[in-house]
Amino acid sequence: MNATAFIKKYTMVIALVVVFIFFTILTGGKLILAQNISNLLLQNAYVLVMACSMLLCILTGGNVDLSVGSTLCLSAALSAKLMDLGQSPVVAIACSLLVAATIGIFNGYMIGYVHIPPFICTLAGMFLFRGLARVVLDSRTISFMNKDFLNIFTSYITIPGVDQKGNCPSALVVGIIVAIGITAATFVSHKSKKARGYAVGSVAGSLVKIGLIDVLVIAYAWKLMHYKGIPVMLVWILVVVLTFAFITSSTVFGRYFYAVGGNEKATKLSGIDPRKVYFWAYFLMSLLAGLSGLLVGARIGSVDGNMGNSYEMDAIASCFIGGASAYGGSGTVPGIMVGAILLGVINQGMSIYGLPDQWQYVVKGAVLLLAVVFDVVSNHKTGKS
């Protein structure tokens, strides 16, 4: 791979590194304090989670779901209300997810089977579910008081006696184990491919890549160690992200989304029902919006009728910054994760630096535009024969 191809392939990763270094210097190193590193992912948990399923919607042809911010609010409102009325966290969580799933079935059916344009259907949902959330809240703010509920989402995994605040070696140990695991898995798959006579990429290239990932994982664990340990929310995020990364890259089910977005008619003639594909995209989207509602609610500690306003836009922006095509058919989970983290770093960096709110919007908008312009222009030059 020559330099241009390398830069092209890893543009956003390079951008992330540059932006990260930039804000580290700008904030005088505050960005890389253990607390800020730990908070970076937690604060953006909803973006990371919802971007995964937003990718599925976008894959089907550049379609987006505008209703997720409202669904998120409704889900959080329900849980808060139920626990406020004395229900157990289990019942509350189950109800929230059930309602989110129902919304997903509704959206999926409308878009997949009734052929309502996704933009319009989810725009209607945006008002509808926001309204319902306020009905549930009775236009008040409700706090999450239940300790068990908060623990499920916002506690830290620590070993009593070993770990204490500011020094949690368990986090570092887990980080090292994960790094070793990744390395081992790569070697095993490399070997099995070779044994079966399949083509394998260059060893040096994958070694460098794995090495970098290992270093990152351990560095991240090191930072977590110096704060409060491994946050439970990180586990939730990882479960969702890894599941979706696996679905999109390695399953038949995931392949359908790329196919429908690339050419719906051809997909149908190949025996794949596009209606089901749309259905699942919007179903999973709402379900993850429901989960995000719980994550955000637990983290903030309360719900009001404006919670989740414009969160859908963060998820959508992450996908496009992360290289998903605005016309559908292409985009990967690792890519959009880089997009989401890039957006998160910019947000956090600007907040720590103390840039006024109004200017933060300007910067965010510019970054989104820049990323998409870059994507379109570079594809235009090479993709056109």
Binding site: K193, L269, D273
Partner: protein
């Protein structure tokens, strides 16, 4: 000393990693019809892009001399100003606008204030349409006229721009024989009016019929220019130049080994239009195909062949479908496309770009698309390494020209795309393969290879149903030919009985019957 309207000298155009044009010299005499032929990827379209300014001056080397002056076109507008108009294979018309609006798009008739003068627009459109023999009113929407007529609108549009040099890229690839002939006769008419034409086509009989000179391109270089003053050149002579070898036989031979077993049979199949449900597309169609047999479906455009095939393939088309479908003697009721594939049916569509392939996906992904369970576990997890190898095997067997199966299908030439489409359907292990216009818009060499693949299929005891608008290929390949017209079966011929004349007359007499019946 001839009078050349166009001379392209030593044109070189490089794309990253490939020399698309390598020192091409191309001369066109004023007032002639000049055919540009060559296999897919020979550089014909690229050369025309250089001419039209779509590849701007500076991105190629060499000289374009037009009317004795060197031209440095920066875009299409520049070349159009000089009277050079290129009509592409894919028509550039907007379906929701009227004929007149399309004709003057970007070139509107307007007054000094920039307001469109509609009376003038419609009047001028009507005049231009008369020149190409279009009888429609210019206020008809493009989507309401057929492909053949849309092509004519494109030409009328070119005429309205005061064209001096008309370039047609595959103008007849989606037309039936009748419409094609009409179009070529029109070009001959323009010639008399002094318009010079360059025509790119794969249909060699058309080349022989209308071209005064034929330039052959191969692998980005000019091979030769063959004069054709009597309009009777031997097609084999052109093919020799195109492929660099003599194709002794255009259709590969096979042992005819047709078993008595009827693999697929259809009885009284009737299909109505999906939207206008009172319009009958196919009426009481019955046919059968044996194991080891290739049958053909002939007919004009709109005869209902594609509609028949799609409706048989899991009700993929139409409404109010009735009739009986039998596979290996057992009646089947196919609910959807998946059901059809699982019963051993495959349908390779006539239009690989719109509904055949996912152009933004790789060759490997497209190859396995119709039967992914073959490369995945029962939990639906894809074995990507196996998938890649399978795709490589097919690419090799099909002689698909590509650096790797990770290449996006959109980057391949038409013939290679067709091979990927065939790979996809062969990978689905069908017993009955329906091929809709399998050789449309692809070159002679690739055609030959696709015929070979069809022969291999029937050798394995499968059945192939070929829908084609090219009579010679039906006659060359099929054991039996069904003729359809206006949604009805108009005749059936065995290979021995079938001739072009008989088939055409079957179509025509059936047309008359229908008209009489209606009257």
């Amino acid at each position: 000393m001839s009078d050349y309207i166009l001379e392209m000298k030593s044109i070189v155009k490089e794309y990253p990693g490939v020399k698309a044009l390598n020192n091409v010299n191309f001369k066109v005499e004023r007032g002639e019809i000049h055919a540009l032929v060559g296999e897919n990827g020979a550089g014909k379209s690229t050369l025309m892009k250089v001419l039209s300014g779509e590849i701007p001056h500076g991105q190629y080397t060499g000289q374009v001399v037009y009317n004795g002056q060197e031209c440095k076109f920066a875009n299409l507008k520049d070349s159009e100003k000089e009277g050079i108009v290129v009509i592409h294979q894919e028509l550039a018309l907007i379906p929701e606008l009227t004929i007149a609006e399309n004709m003057f798009l970007g070139n509107e008739r307007r007054n000094g204030m920039g307001v469109i003068n509609w009376n003038e627009t419609y009047k001028q459109a009507q005049e231009a349409m008369q020149r190409v023999g279009l009888k429609e009113t210019s206020s008809v929407l493009i989507k309401d006229i057929g492909t053949g007529k849309q092509q004519l609108v494109e030409i009328a549009k070119a005429l309205s721009k005061n064209v001096k040099l008309l370039v047609l890229d595959e103008p007849t690839s989606s037309l039936n024989e009748e419409d094609s002939k009409m179009l070529l006769d029109m070009l001959l008419g323009f010639k008399k009016e002094g318009v010079t034409s360059i025509i790119i086509t794969h249909k060699l009989n058309e080349v022989a019929y209308c071209a005064d000179n034929i330039t052959v391109l191969r692998d980005g270089s000019t091979i030769e220019t063959i004069p054709n003053p009597e309009h009777n050149i031997d097609e084999e002579r052109i093919i020799k130049g195109m492929v660099g070898r003599e194709l002794t036989d255009r259709y590969p031979s096979r042992e005819h080994n047709i078993s008595d077993e009827v693999l697929f049979e259809v009885k009284d199949w009737t299909v109505y239009h999906p939207v206008y449900t009172e319009k009958c597309m196919d009426q009481n169609i019955s046919f059968k195909v044996h194991a080891g047999e290739i049958i053909g479906f002939s007919g004009l455009q709109g005869a209902g062949r594609t509609e028949l095939a799609k409706s048989l393939f899991g009700k993929s088309y139409g409404s109010r479908i009735s009739g009986h479908e039998y596979i290996k003697g057992k009646e089947v009721f196919l609910k959807n496309e998946r059901d059809a594939i699982e019963h051993g049916l495959a349908y390779a569509t006539e239009d690989r770009k719109t509904d055949g392939l996912v152009l933004s996906d790789t060759i490997a992904w497209n190859t396995t698309m119709a039967k992914m369970e073959k490369v995945s576990s029962k939990w639906g997890i894809i074995d990507t390494a196996k998938e890649k190898r399978v795709a490589e095997d097919y690419a090799k067997a099909m002689k698909t020209k590509t650096p790797s199966v990770d290449q996006h299908v959109g980057n391949l030439s038409g013939g290679n795309q067709q091979k990927v489409l065939l790979s996809k359907w062969l990978f689905a292990d069908p017993d009955i393969l329906i091929l809709d216009e399998p050789t449309r818009g692809i070159d002679v060499g690739a055609k030959y290879e696709i015929y070979g693949i069809m022969n291999d299929m029937v050798k394995e005891g499968k059945a192939v149903i070929m829908i084609s608008s090219e009579l010679p290929e039906l006659l060359g390949m099929c054991d039996r030919i069904y003729v359809m017209n206006e949604g009805r079966m108009a005749g059936e011929f065995s290979a021995e009985e079938a001739t072009q004349e008989r088939i055409m007359s079957a179509i025509l007499s059936n047309s008359n019957d229908t008209k009489e019946a209606q009257a």
